[in-house]
Amino acid sequence: MARLVVLGGGVSGHTAATFAAKWLGSSHEVVVVTPNSKWNWIPSNIWVGVGQMGKEDVTFDLAPVYAKAGINYKQAKAVSINPEGNERSDKPFVTIEYTLAGREGEVENIEYDYLINATGPKLNFGATPGLGDANGLGEFTVSVCTADHAVHANEEFQKCIQKMKKGERQKFLIGTGHGLCTCQGAAFEYIFNIEHELNKAGVRDMADLKWISNESFLGDFGVGGLHMKSMGFAVSSKIFAESLFTERNVDWIIGAHVNKVEKGKVHYELLDGSMNEEEFDFSMLIPPFAGVGLKAYAKDGSDITATLFAPNGFLKVDANYAAGAYENWKASDWPKTYQNPTYGNIFACGIAFAPPHPISKPMSSPNGTPINPTPPRTGMPSGIIGKAVAHSICDRILKGESSPLHEASMANMGAACVASAGKGLFDGTAAAMTIYPVVPDFEKYPGTGRDTDYTFGEIGLAGHWIKHILHHLFIWKAKLKTGWTMIPE
């Protein structure tokens, strides 16, 4: 019997674990190690953050789902990996520390034949002073990165609405809280959902909304922007984004590295090197991401963390990490199999794999401060990668060690994305987009880097319907209900 251990139970880890359990059957073991007791459909957190959904609408208990799937679920956080075993055994293992109520702090070693690192990110609030504490519930700003954060964000948001109803003008500042953030899309959704809710509450005229982000142009979204076919033109996402911001009367600051947050004020540096301040009454700033801080040890106990992980804490995979300057970047730099180059039985998927470089062109201020989005590895790509990695491992377990690995390069993969701009069955809107491929391939698609036959976007009520349907569809799939394998990632 082989044992697959999956670290992390988010979109990517959950996909990998559930498909592996289905394909391997009861003759092999799948273990999931995740510190959370609940699964969270993160894309809907923005609706929790404006009071349109509750925490219970976007989360469910993992234990019964894993029991049904025959997965050995351990509510714990991974601490370290010993890919060569230790002085007593050659068998590789991971060390975990329980977070389960009643077993908190208890440490256990779990041996594995194959390991998938799908831990997702550490929300690195500490990178910007004042952005937030270890729990992400900042003293001065809010977040929608987890369901609990979103509940807290809504509580603060409702207070602002009450103040506006009493005649007190409020300023909302939404965006990214550091020069190297990703997930601009979540902040984009949040600011327009706030705008939509303010309109519904009849207080829009009492609010000033401002966007602040590390993108060098509006509509970059961490993927270097995209060109979409519209009215016979290939139109940049910059035009569409600026149009929407103007239509909704939202001002913007771009190319900004937020370097300090105080009560009611952020300090930021722009790409031109200038230092500035912006005041706010309510602010939701996405933190930068980092690896979760897993350590790795060799058989003799020496620290080999730098062998297994990149400096940012994400797991090294089959990417070209020596691409160098932007001019040298190629689509082929991006990983295909997500296998660790040193230890062939370790894989990564979702945010946990170390990308070779950003997708957006790297930029820095004259002071040397890097200010550019880091690459997104969330949503549809993370699910597809998780499934491909599970497929590779299952093949090797069931068909032999020489089975070819499955590939899922982000440079050869598209993504469908629906960004909510307000919730409502008949007055909601969302930007529905597809992008192909996620990582631009300028050799294959000269100019825009993407196939404009498969890259499009439009905003409207239809997009909202799709987003709402996807909410229910993916929770259905994650709960492994009837037909779950038929729903694509």
Partner: protein, 54 residues
């Protein structure tokens, strides 16, 4: 129909060079019949991209 979006443009400000939707474009965004048609078209387009990506 009111040309409200145009009024948000600030001369030589951040948004001076962008395009803004006219009243008809904004109306169509929440027109149920038109959006039902778009719903079908967008779904087909997305399914094609999803199929190409797996």
């Amino acid at each position: 129909m009111e040309k409200k979006a145009e009024h948000n443009i600030k001369a030589y400000g951040n948004n001076f060079t962008t395009m803004t939707p006219g009243p008809l474009a904004i109306k169509l965004r929440t027109c149920k019949i038109w959006q039902f048609i778009r719903f079908i078209i967008i779904n087909i387009k997305m399914l094609i991209v999803v199929r190409k990506s797996h």
